[in-house]
Symmetry: D2
Subunit: 345 residues, 4 copies
Amino acid sequence: MKRVSFESDYIAGAHPKVLQRLVETNLETLSGYGTDRYCESAKEKIKAACGCPDAEVEFLVGGTQANAVIISTMLRDYEGVVAAKTGHVSSHEAGAIEYTGHEVLEVPQTDGKIEAAVLKKYLEDFYADANHEHMMFPGMVYISYPTEYGTLYTRKELTELSGICHDYQIPLFLDGARLGYGLMSGECDLTLADIAELTDVFYIGGTKVGALCGEAVVFTKKNRPCYFMNSVKKRGALLAKGRLLGIQFDALFSEDLYFDISRHAIEMAEKMKALFKEAKLPFYLESPTNQQFIILEDRQMKELKGQIGFGFWEKYDEGHTVVRFATSWSTTPEDLDVLRQAIQI
Amino acid sequence: MKRVSFESDYIAGAHPKVLQRLVETNLETLSGYGTDRYCESAKEKIKAACGCPDAEVEFLVGGTQANAVIISTMLRDYEGVVAAKTGHVSSHEAGAIEYTGHEVLEVPQTDGKIEAAVLKKYLEDFYADANHEHMMFPGMVYISYPTEYGTLYTRKELTELSGICHDYQIPLFLDGARLGYGLMSGECDLTLADIAELTDVFYIGGTKVGALCGEAVVFTKKNRPCYFMNSVKKRGALLAKGRLLGIQFDALFSEDLYFDISRHAIEMAEKMKALFKEAKLPFYLESPTNQQFIILEDRQMKELKGQIGFGFWEKYDEGHTVVRFATSWSTTPEDLDVLRQAIQI
Amino acid sequence: MKRVSFESDYIAGAHPKVLQRLVETNLETLSGYGTDRYCESAKEKIKAACGCPDAEVEFLVGGTQANAVIISTMLRDYEGVVAAKTGHVSSHEAGAIEYTGHEVLEVPQTDGKIEAAVLKKYLEDFYADANHEHMMFPGMVYISYPTEYGTLYTRKELTELSGICHDYQIPLFLDGARLGYGLMSGECDLTLADIAELTDVFYIGGTKVGALCGEAVVFTKKNRPCYFMNSVKKRGALLAKGRLLGIQFDALFSEDLYFDISRHAIEMAEKMKALFKEAKLPFYLESPTNQQFIILEDRQMKELKGQIGFGFWEKYDEGHTVVRFATSWSTTPEDLDVLRQAIQI
Amino acid sequence: MKRVSFESDYIAGAHPKVLQRLVETNLETLSGYGTDRYCESAKEKIKAACGCPDAEVEFLVGGTQANAVIISTMLRDYEGVVAAKTGHVSSHEAGAIEYTGHEVLEVPQTDGKIEAAVLKKYLEDFYADANHEHMMFPGMVYISYPTEYGTLYTRKELTELSGICHDYQIPLFLDGARLGYGLMSGECDLTLADIAELTDVFYIGGTKVGALCGEAVVFTKKNRPCYFMNSVKKRGALLAKGRLLGIQFDALFSEDLYFDISRHAIEMAEKMKALFKEAKLPFYLESPTNQQFIILEDRQMKELKGQIGFGFWEKYDEGHTVVRFATSWSTTPEDLDVLRQAIQI
């Protein structure tokens, strides 16, 4: 039986419609560095989708790059970024934020999320501390949506975080590397427009949602850093053939493709969840999005590995491991059939 | 009459054969971060093309990124990189090298090249100076091939530079963003294998030679920095879908495509040169590669602009400007026909 | 009654004997940048005191500067420094380590110390994790002696940490900003020579132990980073009149002054502890060195503040606060008399 | 005959009156980190001396540190600092500016100075260049007064530079490591108040003008970077015993000591110049301040070295070398007597 992989949501190339647009436009003469008409068109479509005509949209190549560029260009010299201990910027970017000279100020998390009360206390404590001159100021709050554990902030939760950030006059930054999979989840009570309203900057992940590469950064409050393109270049992040990003996002935001892709992945994920329940494999936590975290006995893990690709997440205890199964635009019902049979272990 | 552009060598998408390979492999399941079989295969092909089985090959997205990553991971803390005043790293990377905490130590240039005697004197003077503790050590030499002015080092010149670097035990780094256009020039007396032998690290430009993006870095002396992938990630330069780079370079290094593409551009450039000579438009300097630098009267420039795309290079004097015309894999004989008629000015 | 301060151990100038040496040598002509004979002499005396003739000694101006210089010159690009969550580098240096592009990898602490088992597990887990490329490597372990809570590692504990670092081939770095106060504590079972043997680099704090400024960094294993002076200059940390540091340390390491100063502060601290016990003021934790942490009711704190200087440490609970009282070379029995009366609250 | 040194202006300790103040205040209890009353008093005296009641004054330890802190906290991310090729920040700080992630944008110099026309052309050319996104913006102009060659800007020249900076809305930063020696020169037509008015930030050098260490940074236009103390700490530049700087500058700005010290050095320099003229030793250039640059035959240099300390500056030609002789507050008429006899070579 053929091997099937749920190892991550970046194991296939681009959605065929995205690739098709690259093919169709390939011979067109376009100016470099993101000044072409497809970048322009994609930006307009994204602004419309966000219901935010004043938004400023910029394209970057990858998620860690986007995080580092956004954080380091928006923070002031003496500021760090507040993030959950499990946040991508805290632990899985090989020091990319620190490389820019800023500290990640870790706060405790619950199912991958920062609770409003936790954030509030952190900020209050900071300003109550007499040793300000010896600490980095909290200058931004970083959250991911969905989180690294596939969980989602509710509208109420996001509104609270947004309010706290507003009170302290620091931007709220939402890492949307998997944004589509959040928005299309059955449990999501937020729209793209809500996110644009409640955050100060966020990005719409392309790499994990149908593109070969690319993240669309949205500055929602006319707050794009001055001469942003120079800062991007300075970080080695400016693409000569910026068309590669513009054309893909133009395709993703034509005829709701981004949302259709995401919805499909969520449908596949829901079916996958049902399979795990049926097989009585325990969930590490409840995730309403495209990533599912399952606790496997080491014996099961070993057996399954031959036929199914999945991601190692963390040791659970002596004898058990948390593993991750991810769906994406490329997951098929046939893949799930293989999975169903394979997990009878 | 249709408008034709020679503005740069990155105005079109990918060479059709490169794009075709992306389409063919699109649905394959491949692991992330450059660990897939196409990256592996491309690396082997490049090592073979370099005649350097011990080489270590890594893929990065763009040229400025490659420069910053290579320089900052190979230099020691107290070292800077020696480069020509006109070197790309000196003046056109928006501070990307300085961003890594290293200085670009500028030396005078001749037609975009560093002369061996100039380099030798610079190094001798440095070590003769009593104030070492107050200066950055020259820890690497950066050259481009072709240079920013389209010129080429001869085998003799490169051998001399290589010898000096060897004497001072500092690596010689060759920026090959347009490497193919150098190797296929009629004036080139070097092979890819020679370059691998005479330098310590170099890269084979993809972005400007047929790819959508991508540069293949070749560490020629088993000198790839330790845990290079982590350093790449730390700089936000690690691509999740590393396949995008691997597949393109695998295509470029199949059936000599990289060289064929380059040869075509050089043929087009030679014809373009003939047209300029015929039209008696003066050359700023003699370039044997795909970039040609022409001095235009401001009146001519204005007239030409309507029909032909070209790049502003620098003011020549009151009334004259140096402009650049570049060919690439996508330049056609028809484009040159348009140019011929347009430059009757 | 006169106000007396125990706010910190840097509230007075230099020990009179140290200052006297600055006065005596003031008009001597000495070369700059630490190349003078007093720096030389001080280095020799420190090497002798460490029983480590091969040690390499360098002087820096302050503690945060020393931490940042040592950590950033000894770590490799892809490495971070492991430290207790309460370590000075983790939380009270305003991002000085991150400014150098390295992450502080926080581990849990017990009374300000890193337990060997905690360190071992951290390192084991790191190497067991499949996602190495996305994390900073633990490249050094940072501890303070005494810790930020005034506690001390026992010889057994330090030997264990040293063994683990040795097994993983990463240097053990000991921040000795208050080293003297540790070595002279009644509970200390280590000598300066033991510390030189068990660590790879440490520094002997001058600022808090009798000098106007200055820390003496000791590289114990012939492991001073290459061209260290250049790296110091690059960080803006090279003093033109290096004599200021050399002369002070020469004085401190003449006739055991450094140890006598420290012993005096410990005697004063022991008497202070007795006063607190007598007054039944609760200790936050048991500290055998010159810093004592007391839990005060907010009412007590308010009353005391008028007459006694002390440091705010952290909120204990609603109604109580942890405050710090520090002794130093300049603390007198008369100061303690004032304290005794003042704490009858 | 005794050996006498003119090697630099930092070969002696502090002016006796400065040291005396350190002795007198040594046992006073003072708060840390520059919050003590002597820092406060020194700041007020400096503001008064500058005729600039709104100025914001901060103390740092050394010159390279001051340059790096000022430049990196005042520049924006995408900006570099314009400096003469011979400027201290360009060539003699071991990459300290680049370490902060900013480029030094070198312009040609004349006798160590930037001419207004040169600066104007540089700025005009920058904004005329179409490739802004690929270059660092000129975000500040750095000059030294006196320059590294001991020369002085006239009031007219400084006014012109100031005007250009104002037009381009970038700050003018004056490195005054030897400011006193400039102000007291017979050729100086500027007052301290003029400098405060014409620049946006400058510093008053202490290290080379009578202090053990210390530079007083003056932000003249209410433009001190926000939370400057945190940024200083982040760079490892915050002194725990800030009193060391405050007390010294309080002494230097009491009863005109700073100016008296400087005037004395200038008188000694004038006498030294006369001696060189008398001995017919050629000057490398005309310097009206405390540094004199003389061209010596290598034979002369060798002979002189035994008895007189001086600084190597640069090779002049085969057989000749430029050397530097500096006076300072500590130079005596007796020193000059020794020099007079020694240069009969």
